[in-house]
Every structure is written in C-alpha cells, then in structure tokens.
Symmetry: C2
Subunit: 202 residues, 2 copies
C-alpha cells in the first residue's frame, strides 16, 4: 500500500503548475554542474522531482530546455508589430517589436540566461541550436512585417535588424551590474543599428 | 597478381585531381534519385569511382557535400572586402564583397544549385545545416568589415546585409531562364536593401 506522501508526490508530478519552470531550473543547474552532454533527461526529471513523461510534455528534447524562451520571444516580437498603430513606418514597427519584451526579460530570466551562456559556450551542438532559433525568430518577424504591408526586402532586412538589436541589447544587459529592465538596452541598440543603416545608402 | 587496369583505377582513386568535383556530382545525383537520408557515403564514393577514404579527405560528412560552396563564398566575400580601396565607405565595402562572386557562381554551379535546392527542401536536418552556414558567412564578413575599421554595429549589420543580398540575388538568379552571370543580381539586391535601410532611419 502506498503512503499518503507518495500519492501526494505523484499528484504533484502530474499536475505541478510550475513543472516547466522546475525542469528548466533543474536542467540548468545540472548542465552547469556536470556538463550539458553528461546530463540525462532522467537526471533532470529526478532533480525537479518529476518524471520523464512530464519532461516530454514540456520539452521536445534536452536542447529545447535551453531555447524554449526563443519561441516566446518570436511571439512577443510578432505581437508587438501587429499591435503597432496602423500608420507606423518600418522604423516604428521595429521599435514596436520590442514593446512587450520586458514581460519576459525579467531578473529571474537574467539569472538563468547567465547559466545558459555558460552551457552554450561549452557545446557546438547547443551553440548551433541557438543560431537556428535566431533564424526562426527572423522568419516570424519577417512574416509579421509582411502582414503590415512592408515589402519583401524591407521585411527581411527588418527581421535581421530586430534579431541583431536583440543580440546586441542582450549582450549589454547581461554585462550590466544590476538587474535593469531590458527595454532601454533594446532601444539603444536599435538606435545604433539605424544610424549604421543610414550609412548604407551613402 | 593485379592487372594493369586495377592498378590504374587505384591510382586514379588516390590521385584523381578532380575527386572533389566527382564526389559532389555523384552525391547530388544520388540524393535527387534516391533521397538524401537513403544515400550512404559508400554509395557516393562508388558512383564517383572512388573510395570512402577519398570521400573523407574532401568532406567531413554527407552534409558537407551540399555546403562546401558556402565556405568558398565566405572566403570570397572577405577577400573582396579586404581588396576594396582604402577610403571605401561601408556601402562600398558591401559592394566590394561581391566583386569576386562570379568566379564561383558559374553555369555549372547553377545546375548543381538546382539539385541542391531539391535536396534541401526534403530534409529539415539539411535545411538547418544551410542556415548555420549562413551564420558562418555572416561571422566571416563581419570580421572582414571590422578589419576595415567599421564599428561593431556597422560590421554586424553589414554582414547581415551581405548574407541577405546574396540570398535574394540567388533566388532571382536561380529563377532566371538562361545562364546569366550572378553579379548584376547581387547589385540589384544590394541596391534594394540599401533603399530599405534608408527607411529605417526615418
């Protein structure tokens, strides 16, 4: 006969509302401690107090633990562009892409990002998965810009500018001493890239 | 005792000066005929009249057969930028990246590219490898621009513009009816992107 405690733990495992977050925390801790390649999904689930099946309800594979946030970003950028005022210029649409960014770039996310950077630096496979996610973000942003009537070249260039601005802002945000909000870094990066873009046509 | 014919074939396999090209042709033919996943390296080598060891002297793996040309491109772009006149502006450096491009974008390359596009469309793995090669080209172009004194943001934006201009030009070049030189397509794409870039600062 099972004890009440075991039944309770089982119920936690199945219904835990914060299972995704617990799995992510456990995975990052293990990746940093023992290495990305060496960590198994079973170990991640165990550390999180969950089982393998729960892991696979939240992540397709081990790499997705590191890059699930990129899909959230792609959605936020596209939403921001869609919500911009109807007469927004291309430049304004790119700023609008970052309108909702602070919702996900929280101090907690920043702490996890620091762990991620350490892990990504140790594995070519993981680094490449990160590059692919950037390509997918660009595809999502370009589609949102096309929906807003931006022509093909403008949409594709704009998408690259958003990804580049995010990368540059992220690098500076991570280096900042304190927990600051992300938006000002994004704004500064966009401004700098737009100034560089102006040089392209001279 | 070996016959003269066998010894001759062995010598061909080891020294064939056009081994890389023969392997590439054999691989693309097989990929299109039987599918990328289904084709083995042994089959590629056999079709080319070479052995597996020769294959691995030219390519790290099966995917590299499809994307070896991207490394050549990265080198050509960087060489073009390095050879530009000392007082070249950022816009002029980006044009200079394409100065030597026709050397590799030959009618023969175009025929192979058509086969490659068919293969890439059937495999997610191969498609992703292509995206990674684009990222590597961008890294190479950004480094060349930094060497020319372009600031960090300009170098990274410029690199994305070169990759985007190449992609757009390539799409149009592949759709053109006849075998035309690549450079005019690159010039048109760059011009269009520069016009879009001008909108970014408005």
């Amino acid at each position: 006969m099972r004890s009440g405690r075991v039944v309770y733990a089982g119920a936690m495992a199945r219904w835990a509302p914060n299972a995704r977050d617990r799995l992510e925390t456990a995975a990052l801790d293990l990746f940093v401690e023992f290495g990305y390649e060496e960590t198994t999904i079973a170990q991640i689930a165990e550390r999180a107090g969950l089982n393998r099946a729960t892991f696979f309800r939240h992540f397709a594979d081990k790499r997705e633990v590191l890059f699930g946030g990129e899909d959230v970003l792609a959605g936020l950028f596209a939403d921001g562009i869609r919500a911009a005022s109807p007469d927004a210029t291309l430049a304004e649409l790119l700023s609008a892409a970052f309108a909702g960014i602070d919702a996900t770039m929280t101090p907690r996310r920043r702490a996890k990002a620091a762990q991620r950077l350490k892990v990504v630096a140790t594995s070519v496979e993981v680094h490449e998965r990160g590059l692919l996610k950037h390509a997918r973000i660009a595809t999502s942003v370009a589609a949102a810009l096309r929906e807003r009537g931006i022509d093909e070249l403008g949409a594709r260039l704009g998408a690259q500018v958003v990804v580049l601005a995010f990368s540059v802002a992220f690098e500076h945000w991570m280096k900042a001493d304190e927990d600051r909000s992300f938006a000002p870094y994004a704004e500064t990066a966009l401004k700098g890239i737009r100034a560089s873009a102006a040089q392209l046509d001279s």
